[in-house]
């Protein structure tokens, strides 16, 4: 069951198809569980209520897309889910952990081990080679540099950049840089991948390839993906899509992602 059980009007907004979508996901444990999550920026008259009671479940192995107009709270929601922003109220557990109870230091350590990030602006370190960039999460987790570089190169090989490991990011195209960013996000085998507009800086063809890559890594495993996007061209890759508006999730609909996954698995 994917529909959140209970903070009022949310339930009625969710489509039947969403409720039934998950034949492919049914029975899978829930990776992210939010109930009545609120977040307000600022105080007094200038306060902005970015999240106004969000309920959301994301299953293990699911690609959940968050869509909606600018300012609707998508980025705030993934920031809360990823543990880089504290919620004000409500409950939110990620892989069974509540960041509020965990404390700042343990949350940071949790992110290092369990969460991967793909940013809109890539955020690759321009002075490091792409192999060094990809090795960063492994180094953060305490791996020796030589071993981290070896695994980073393996990961880059998987995304088709095995011959470019010693290049610096500025020598790569936008699509290649995003593939590096995805490699960095996955190299330490996280259980949750958070992607913020992963295709907005890419042309259509490159964006499709990047999403195919993400779809591939999501299929078959326990990795859950939460993808924030405006890009309608990639909606087809989602297992489900949560549409947000004004700090609420107004609907959850089924995507085609599970079919793509099936094709992908069959294709293999």
């Amino acid at each position: 069951m994917v529909v959140a059980p209970g903070t009022g009007n949310m339930q009625s907004l969710m489509s039947d198809s969403a409720a039934n979508v998950t034949s492919a996901l049914a029975g899978r444990p829930i990776a992210v569980r939010c109930r009545g999550v609120t977040k307000t920026y600022g105080k007094g008259g200038s306060a902005v209520r970015a999240l106004r009671g969000v309920d959301l479940d994301v299953h293990q192995g699911e690609m959940m897309m968050l869509v909606g107009p600018s300012g609707c709270g998508k980025t705030t929601l993934i920031s809360v889910v990823a543990g880089v922003l504290d919620r004000d109220e409500g409950e939110c557990t990620v892989l069974g952990e509540d960041f509020k109870k965990l404390g700042a230091d343990k949350t940071t350590a949790f992110r290092a081990k369990n969460v991967g990030f793909v940013f809109q602006a890539f955020n690759l370190i321009p002075t490091l080679t792409i192999a060094e960039n990809v090795s960063v999460p492994l180094l953060i987790n305490g791996m020796r540099r030589s071993e981290a570089l070896r695994q980073a190169k393996q990961m880059l090989d998987r995304v088709g950049l095995g011959t470019r490991v010693n290049d610096i990011p500025s020598r790569l195209s936008g699509g290649q840089q995003q593939r590096v960013a995805i490699s960095r996000a996955l190299v330490h085998k996280p259980r949750l991948l958070v992607c913020d507009e992963p295709t907005s800086a890419l042309d259509h063809a490159t964006g499709q390839k990047v999403m195919e890559l993400l779809r591939e890594v999501a299929s078959g495993g326990d990795l859950s993906l939460v993808v924030v996007t405006h890009d309608q061209r990639i909606f087809e890759f989602a297992d489900r899509m949560a549409t947000m508006d004004d700090g609420h999730i107004v609907s959850i609909t089924t995507g085609q992602g599970h079919k793509i996954s099936s094709q992908h698995v069959e294709g293999k």
Partner: protein, 384 residues
């Protein structure tokens, strides 16, 4: 992560070079100016260093530094000899008298008269002649710097030649003959130095009731110089100072009276401030420009402690490189300065001090940057 931190820093060529140049400039200024200051300070001890066998200097209590002769009664020598712990006590005359060369050159010079019998207190490094030559009638030994400089003879054709053994001169209208050339340490004070015997020096000097300037004392074996000095002061009422006390007295008097402590202090301080401003501003800009990357690292799970570790690694590497380059430049420039007669002394303690100074600059800069990094919310990486 430290290796990556260094690579991150050095990869930003413009800021890296800016930081390195700023720190190198600061290190050069601090090291060089402090070394020149040390060089001149060391020269203030030259007279004491050139009289190595003396443990205690006895003088009038009003003496403020080595060039400040306040004569004592001759009986002071006998009173000092009677003090417990004194192995020997010998007289020394030291005063400035007018010296005239055969070519007519006149120069006030420091005349040092040493004990007639033992010649103790005389020069220790001779270039021509021997100390014993002072026993010759009217004999004087001239310091090399004076012989080649202020006391050089002007020839009829206008050229100059150094004062040599055999040349005659007049000291306060008394005939004297050069019997030796010595090599004294370069002194802070600039008057030519001429040695002779105590009796001859008193004869050269204008007649006055008191002529004795210092009593040179050697402590008995097993007696500390400090204890003997204290005994002498207690028994005679005279000022008795160990070598280090007399050197420090001279040094501090000169430093404070001439203002060079303040002048060099300002220059060294400027080096520190310039280094701090350049390094602090540039490093803060570097961190601000890369705030998004630091935030990304935080989002990826890098703890604040390790982020601070990266920043401090960066500044320590910068500091060591800047200090190394600056100290190297200062050291090389010091060689040339030495050739030009500038006092330059660069002991390891000064290098350690300069290194600490540069590291303080770096740490202060890092702390500014650290505040910026600590305040970074990792969530900013999601903002376009």
């Amino acid at each position: 992560m430290n290796f990556l931190a260094i690579k991150m820093l050095m990869g930003d060529r413009l800021k890296y070079l800016g930081l390195l140049i700023g720190l190198t400039f600061a290190a050069t200024l601090i090291t060089q100016q402090a070394a020149i200051f040390m060089g001149y300070t060391k020269r203030m001890w030259a007279f004491i260093d050139d009289t190595p066998h003396v443990d205690v200097w006895v003088m009038d209590p009003q003496v403020r530094f080595t060039e400040d002769p306040k004569p004592l009664q001759e009986t002071a020598l006998l009173r000092v000899r009677a003090v417990e712990g004194v192995e020997w006590a010998l007289p020394m005359y030291r005063n400035n008298l007018l010296v005239q060369l055969a070519d007519g050159t006149q120069e006030f010079s420091t005349i040092i008269g040493v004990d007639d019998a033992t010649l103790m207190g005389g020069p220790t490094r001779m270039i021509e002649g021997t100390l014993e030559d002072l026993r010759q009638g009217d004999g004087v030994i001239v310091d090399k710097a004076a012989a080649n400089g202020d006391l050089a003879m002007t020839l009829p054709d206008g050229t100059k030649r150094p004062l040599r053994v055999g040349d005659s001169l007049s000291i306060n209208d008394n005939f004297a003959r050069v019997v030796g050339i010595c090599d004294n340490a370069t002194a802070f004070y600039w008057q030519p130095v001429i040695y002779t015997t105590y009796g001859r020096a008193v004869r050269f000097a204008p007649p006055q009731r008191k002529q004795l300037t210092y009593v040179l004392v050697k402590a008995k074996e097993g007696e500390s110089a400090e204890a003997v000095a204290a005994n002498i002061t207690a028994r005679t009422g005279l000022a008795a100072r160990t070598r280090s006390d007399f050197g420090a007295l001279t040094m501090w008097y000169t430093l404070l009276k001439t203002g060079i402590l303040i002048n060099f202090g300002i220059t060294v301080g400027l080096g520190f401030v310039i280094g701090l401003l350049v390094c602090g501003q540039t490093f803060f800009t570097y961190v601000s420009d890369n705030a998004r990357l630091f935030a990304a690292l935080k989002a990826l799970g890098l703890s604040n402690v390790r982020l601070l570790g990266m920043i401090f690694t960066q500044v320590v590497v910068l500091g060591l490189l800047g200090f190394g380059l600056g100290a190297g430049i200062a050291s090389i420039s010091g060689r040339f300065m030495g050739l030009a007669g500038v006092g330059f002394h660069l002991p390891w303690q000064l290098l350690v001090g300069a290194c600490v100074g540069i590291m303080l600059i770096c740490l202060a800069s890092a702390m500014l940057a650290a505040v910026r990094v600590l305040r970074l919310e990792p969530g900013v990486v999601f903002k376009a």
